[in-house]
Symmetry: C2
Subunit: 221 residues, 2 copies
DNA sequence: CAGTGTGAAGTTGTTCACAGCA
DNA sequence: TGCTGTGAACAACTTCACACTG
């Protein structure tokens, strides 16, 4: 039973990336607000707490499908549920992480992720001292032994927290594992096939912004 | 000998933030290229390596003040020096970090920063087990003992890697210390005075993007 | 003619303006 | 009146088009 409409009933609903990036912050403040026993919250209130534009909040919220009441605002709990749904808290997203140094360890024990739709199920490293240890309940395996993990895994996300020189070969490995998305923290540009979702998080980019702003400050004075 | 021109000789040169964020990546590939013994490099070459638009590279490079030769490209070493200058490798930027957990430790030992214009000179924590230890040569001090660091410090950057509940009070403390820029990794919106440079790095925002893209993928299929 | 450099066009995201509502 | 919701104006960044150069 196929519909032959040229216009799909459920439109792809492409949410702007900046909006997606703001969603977790909304969720944070909404939970605080709920904890304080508030039932309703208005966009301007949220905006004030996060130092963003009020209309921005309204627009962003519209993507969740939740609709508010004029004069009153939104039902806090409704928004929270909608955001959790949006951010995939319900579906399970399992991840492998390669590189169990400080950064890898930080991500593994990072509180936020537990209840955030992603679960790191295993870590890999090539450092014999780390292999066999446990970080917050996640075992570190020998990467060499798992070079070719046979068959199709259900793991969707691969996280790279290795030194830059190893990152590309790890990425290749992950693609071979059938991973769908790679979250890269190594400061290199990875080459991956078209269909792989690649997300780079280069912390240094943020430092560059800070230093640049400090420099401007100096120039102004 | 002052000029009284209404147009300043050295214009403020406001560089777009996206450009600033790309600078470190340029520096990375240029160093690789130099290591391979190349003297010249063209914008299209850089663009290919980083998967960005060639004209983007040209525009970005123009902010460094370096000018290239048609047909040939730019002098690699010249570009590197200009980028290092731009990113503040020459000036020293000293930083304090509060919160010596995994993430804090990761930032302290993170290779990139050493030669990247920022030096973390001291770490603070309230966990007695961590106080007095050293991470990559940086001593962890008792935050309580340093509640009010008297007088004006030369430290410009304060890094917050504490749990979210402590972040605001740490930020207040840092402002009192006379810090100019705060780099916040805690998933909260900090309230700081107008003149303080605030840079938030919410890793979770990146995860949100990944999960959202995975969701779209599912919908398409 | 392959590459730089730049003004113009296009795209994306943000902010404004205002209609509708309780 | 204060807030939602949305179409229009605006701003920022990216990509295109092309003149220029060795």
């Amino acid at each position: 039973m196929e519909t032959t409409l040229s216009i799909p009933l459920k439109k792809p609903q492409a949410v702007p990336e900046p909006t997606v990036r703001r969603m977790p912050s909304y969720l944070n403040v909404l939970r605080d607000i709920l904890k304080q026993g508030e039932l309703y919250v208005s966009a301007p209130t949220i905006a004030r707490l996060l130092h963003v534009d009020p209309t921005q909040v309204v627009k962003d919220m519209s993507y969740t499908g939740i609709t508010g009441k004029p004069r009153v605002g939104y039902v806090v709990e409704e928004l929270i549920l909608a955001l959790e749904e949006f951010l995939g808290y319900n579906r399970k997203h399992e991840a492998f992480i390669v590189g169990a140094g400080y950064l890898g360890s930080a991500l593994i024990q990072y509180q936020g992720f537990r209840e955030a739709g992603m679960k790191i199920v295993a870590a890999f490293d090539i450092d014999k001292k780390k292999i066999g240890t446990e970080i917050s309940g996640v075992t570190v395996f020998d990467l060499e032994k798992f070079r070719d993990l046979a068959g199709r895994l259900h793991i969707q996300i691969g996280i790279i927290t290795t030194p830059p020189t190893m990152a590309q070969s790890v990425a290749d490995l992950m693609v071979g594992w059938g991973i769908k998305a790679i979250w890269n923290f190594a400061p290199v540009a990875l080459k991956v096939p078209e269909h792989i979702i690649l997300q780079d998080t280069h912390i240094y980019a943020n430092l560059a912004v800070i230093i640049n702003k400090l420099g401007q400050l100096r120039n102004e004075k």
